[in-house]
Symmetry: C2
Subunit: 360 residues, 2 copies
């Protein structure tokens, strides 16, 4: 088992990565605050992993709560269902929530923990690649609003993240690919060696080679935890982690949650960011091509859906959280491995990108 | 104008107290973070004060959002209505929310600010005595759940509190009295001189004597800000501020929100706490009588409603946020001006209190 640390002073916490460690849930004991635990999962993950996780937990009052599966359920209503269950138990302030599932389960469970009785402890047990390399680390929690993704939420750090690489064996191919999008992101924004490694090992990842997966997860989590330790609440460099996300959120909102997976939308979004970076002369054409090519080899979309035209895209992007004083800010690339946040781009170039990077 | 400071390091903020200062909203300028402001009020307060406040604000994009009036609207649904308005505008992360109204408006607006885009700035402009002396100071925000009051929320400190004592002139008598309950609370828990002052000046307060009101507000805010500065997130002494609240919340939940005002329920709850403190030999009978007598003179209830019997009361109290590891903890009195938090009380004595302090 590998252990990384997210360094946040007295709120620091470990990321535990290993094959089969879900069955050793007693390693979570130091991170559980009282005698009550509620495991929140979804209807897809619970039948496979819930009993295994619960069997390993220390002797406690263990409650479980199963959500429907899908981004379309990442809402205030679903959140309120968790509060109903916590209050019906009733669970007190000493309860520890455990999120067992992908990014949606993690985000909504973390937000429930942030708000229940003004804040209780929680642990992330991510079971998708996307959640293991990205959403379970860093304390961003929240739900969607019909007018924008992740618009309602809180920064609330988990006590621990337990990533069992074995759970990826039951992941659908499409979900695996979506997770690889976020892995590629770390290479693009700050880790050119990792990007090169990915170019050389993308087939091994797609084939779920255990060593390749473990390497990719570890390097992704290391990149993420270094950024979060420097800028917990995204007042600066943490925003770089949103490469492709402003475009991606617009895609997800524009076509309706649940049509494209988050990672798929981010993949197309990163290609759009690369395209715009090239248009304004920041990124060499061959570098933009390398980015696009790796995303394509990961079997991810490189174009936005044809149904969203440029005007609609701009409207959808105007509610992005990175908008400041009415100015849209984007993460763009200076090179493979070097991203910057900027509002200094030509509006015409942006419109050209939105038109050019759209499926027929 | 008086200015007190809530000392919370880099998140410190001022409480501005004065007669007519609502019309000088330009004093809020240093506490507004960007060009967008949304004033949230309710249908009772808005017609009287909204235009006056907005007229004084610096040149900004000022949006307004008016809620229905009443504790029964302190819900996730009402909260979502604020998010709808913020996203429809659309307001970005630089928006500052201003809560103009009583405790419900302040709690829900503060919680909206805590969660919108994972946290934006807000300012409290309390217009009830209860909000001026208690709920607007200290950063507790939240909404109710049908299974318990204030069960969903966050700690999120305002940038500034502006308390215009002139707004109390339009307050209904019943609301004024409910606010006095929280004023009396500070005397009971930690300020025996202030309690004595209240015994001597209760009629002046009831008659809305401006000097008496200003004195009471200032001393209440000073007590509150000293406690909050020591224990922002209620891991210790801040819990003392909940004297009477565990009983009071049970009353509010038991008879349905909006039947009794919060301060009325707290008044009866403080009498119950005094009664139990006397039964277990902590508080001299004459001191318990002094507490009860002052509350009675403030025209507040000293008994719980007859419809909640002891069993139901205990059930309602079991979801209180101060329950830890299944043990109910209460704030009890050792003397006038000395409160302690404890789970060390006789269950029979508690049941006797619940039976004795109940209206026929």
């Amino acid at each position: 088992m590998k252990q990384l640390e997210v360094d946040l002073g007295y709120r620091s916490y470990p990321i535990l990565i290993g094959d089969g460690i879900l069955d050793q849930a007693d390693i979570l004991k130091p991170y559980i605050s009282g005698p009550q635990v509620m495991v929140v999962s979804n209807e897809t993950v619970a039948p496979i992993y819930l009993d295994r996780l619960v069997a390993g937990l220390p002797k406690l009052q263990v409650l479980t709560h199963v959500l429907p599966d899908g981004e379309e359920y990442k809402t205030l209503e679903t959140l309120n269902g968790i509060f109903d269950a916590l209050l019906a138990a009733p669970c007190d302030r000493g309860v520890t929530l455990i999120a067992l599932g992908g990014g949606v389960v993690g985000d909504i469970t973390g937000f429930a923990a942030a708000c229940y009785q003004r804040g209780v402890a929680y642990i992330q047990v991510p079971t998708t690649l996307l959640a293991q390399v990205d959403s379970s680390v860093g304390g961003k929690t929240g739900v969607n609003h019909r007018l924008g993704k992740n618009m309602i939420g809180a920064f609330h750090q988990p006590r621990c993240v337990l990533a069992d690489t074995g759970t990826l064996n039951t992941l659908e191919d499409r979900q695996l690919h979506a997770g690889i999008a976020e892995v590629i992101k770390y290479g693009l924004i700050r880790d050119p060696q990792f990007f090169t490694w990915l170019e050389e090992n993308i087939e091994a990842l797609l084939a779920r080679d255990p060593a390749a997966l473990q390497y990719a997860i570890e390097h992704s989590c290391r990149n993420k935890s270094e950024i979060v330790a420097q800028d917990e609440k995204e007042s600066g460099i943490r925003a770089l982690l949103n490469l492709g996300h402003t475009f991606g959120h617009a895609i997800e909102t524009g076509i309706g949650y649940g049509q494209w997976l988050h990672g798929e939308a981010v993949a197309a979004g990163m290609c759009m960011a690369a395209d715009l970076s090239q248009r304004i002369g920041w990124l060499a054409p061959e570098e933009a091509q390398r980015a696009r090519r790796l995303i394509e080899r990961a079997q991810l979309p490189v174009l936005a859906p044809g149904e969203i035209d440029a005007d609609r895209f701009l409207e959808l992007m105007s509610v992005d959280k990175k908008v400041q004083a009415g100015r849209l800010r984007l993460i763009l690339l200076k090179a493979i491995g070097e991203a910057v946040i900027t509002d200094d781009f030509d509006a015409t170039a942006l419109r050209d990108t939105l038109t050019a990077c759209r499926a027929a």
